[in-house]
Structures are given as structure tokens and as C-alpha cells.
Symmetry: C2
Subunit: 179 residues, 2 copies
DNA sequence: GTCTATAATTTGATAGAC
DNA sequence: GTCTATCAAATTATAGAC
């Protein structure tokens, strides 16, 4: 059976991804698991500890999925498609936006350690793409294309969520060029 | 001199756009103006009232700026550039993301009236572009392009904010095609 | 319109029993 | 590891004086 720590992270991730970090309380999380808030504090003494654990786990999951989906692929187009699929799945499976999309918006109101971890997630996303875009394209152009793609994925997730229409995501990302 | 109501809206907008709706309190806003929270409640009895007023004012400002910037322009490219400029100015002048970008992320944790107003803002943004893209392009394709552009603007604002680098926005939106 | 005062609730967090 | 109990602070919101 799943242990409490994982259940706490699962519940907290759901809550943060739908309402934001400040709108989620230890009591909310505890109540969802049928335990007390003091038990949540046992696993994560400070809210910041919980936030950092959420970001670390989420980032690992995204990059594991990226490696897995692009395992046997080689072309830039296939790598772009892999990232689009990872984001699409994140939206479809949870009906929620990206954890770091939420925290990136709230950035200025978060502990600096969390804001830094979120920024690192974004940099890693862009870098992952830059390394897989066509070599013959100038590095500055590759950076621009990668920045554009990750921005589009983040923005379309947020808007699809707000509009209550997942097809908005597909519509918006359909315009991402093969580069 | 500016009256209190406008000062409240200005202060609240700054706070919500940097930390999120739930992270902002009536006391925060009052303290910034050197008044008491009860005085803020006089102008906006419920927090929801304040939120709705913020969205209405922000939306009006954006569409006024769009009309103004695209006043004497005619081509689709000029209209796209106008919208990019409006978003760039919103980021540059405030060092903050779009109010509705923040609230769209927090959507599920907001009063339904606010979530609906935010969704309407996004729909109006997309529609504004759809009406200005080339007529000869099929309507579905125009919708996809418009959705892509607004998504990219929202996403790149959020990421530029998280990364503390406004040039990220310029890099990402430089890829928006003239269509 | 702004204030003081306060109610009712929620929050992050801790001490200590089991 | 989970609980009860509790705290200090913060939150939305209201009543009523000025």
C-alpha cells in the first residue's frame, strides 16, 4: 500500500495545481486523507518543505516522461511532439495545469527557494528542446524557438483550464511548427 | 487628486498580479494606502466584489489599448504586432504578469463569477485576433492561429516573470508568425 | 468615508501523549 | 507516525461612532 508521504504529495499536488499554493492548507490536505494536520507537519515541517518536495517530484516525473517518450526518436519534430504529448497528458490526466505553471505565476509570493526551483524547471524545459532542435539552426534561433514552444504549452494549458475546454490546448499547439 | 477607490484598485492589482488573489488581503491593500481594512470594505464589501472590479477595469484597459494601437493599421501583421505590443507593455510597465493570466491559473479556487469573467477576457482576446487575421484563411485555421498567439503571450509573460528576464518574452514572441 | 472594535474562522506551526 | 491540544497570527467581514 502507498505510504502517507506519497498520499500527501498526491493530494497537495492536486490542490496546488487547481487553486494555487496559498489557497492550500495543511488541514485541507489532511482532511482529504482522513488524517490530522499535525501528521502532515510530521512529514513536511514547513509549508516550504512541502512545496519544494512537490516541485522536485513533478520535475523528475516530467523529465522521465520526456526521456521515455523520446526514447527511440531522433528527429527534431519527434522531440517536439514528445514534449507536446507530455504536456497534453499532464492536462488530460489531471484536468489541471502544470504545477510549475501555477507556481511560476505566483512566483513573487513564494519562498525564494521555491521560486528558484520553478525557474530551474523552466530553464531545463527550454534547454531540453534547444539541444534537440536542428543543429544547423543558429543557437539564438534555437533558443527562440524553444522558448516559444514552452511558452505556448504553458499558456495554452492555463487558458484551456480557464475556458474549461481541453480542445483549446490542441488548437493552440497545432500551430507549433516542426522547425 | 486620485480618489481612494482608484488607489485601492491600483494597489490590489499590483498585489494580485504578483502574488495571486488568495495571497492578497484587505489589510495588505489598506496598509499600502495608509488606511484601515474597514475602509477598503466600504468600497468593496466582499473580496469577490474587488476581484470583479479588477477584472473589469483591466479588461477595459487592454481592449482600449488594442483599439488605440491598431487605430490606423489595417494588415493582419500590424494587428498581431499591436497585441504583442500591448502585452509587452503590460509586462514592461508593471514587471508583472497579466491579471487574467494569474487569475486564469487560480481559476478553480476563485468565485465562479470571477472565473467566468476571466474566461470571457480570454475569449475576447482570441476573437479580437480571429476577426483581424486574413479573411482568405479558413475560420478554423484562424481560430487556431489566434489561440496560439494569445497562449504564447500569456505563457511567455509568466515564464519571463518567473525567470526574472523580460528578454525571454521578446525571444518567445519573436517566433509568432505574420500569418 | 474613515475610523475603532470585534466577531468568527482559518492558518502555519509546535508540544507532548500514545 | 499519528494523535489531542493548543497557540499566535492572519483572514474576511460587520457594527456602530465620528
Amino acid at each position: 500500500m502507498t505510504d502517507t508521504l506519497v498520499k500527501i504529495l498526491d493530494s497537495a499536488e492536486r490542490d496546488v495545481r487547481s487553486k494555487g499554493f496559498h489557497a492550500v492548507s495543511f488541514r485541507d490536505i489532511a482532511a482529504e486523507l482522513g488524517i490530522k494536520s499535525a501528521s502532515v507537519h510530521y512529514h513536511f515541517p514547513k509549508k516550504e518543505d512541502l512545496g519544494l518536495a512537490l516541485i522536485a517530484r513533478y520535475s523528475d516525473r516530467v523529465f522521465d516522461a520526456l526521456e521515455s517518450k523520446s526514447d527511440k526518436t531522433h528527429t527534431p519534430k519527434e522531440h517536439i511532439d514528445a514534449m507536446v504529448d507530455v504536456y497534453r497528458s499532464a492536462l488530460a490526466e489531471s484536468d489541471r495545469i502544470c504545477l510549475c505553471g501555477m507556481l511560476g505565476a505566483e512566483s513573487a509570493g513564494l519562498p525564494a527557494t521555491m521560486a528558484d526551483a520553478v525557474a530551474e524547471f523552466f530553464n531545463k524545459n527550454v534547454d531540453w528542446l534547444v539541444e534537440r532542435l536542428p543543429e544547423q539552426v543558429a543557437i539564438e534561433e534555437r533558443k527562440a524557438r524553444a522558448s516559444n514552444i514552452v511558452s505556448t504549452l504553458q499558456g495554452s494549458m492555463m487558458m484551456a483550464n480557464s475556458l474549461g475546454d481541453h480542445s483549446f490546448f490542441d488548437q493552440a499547439v497545432s500551430q507549433i511548427s516542426a522547425g
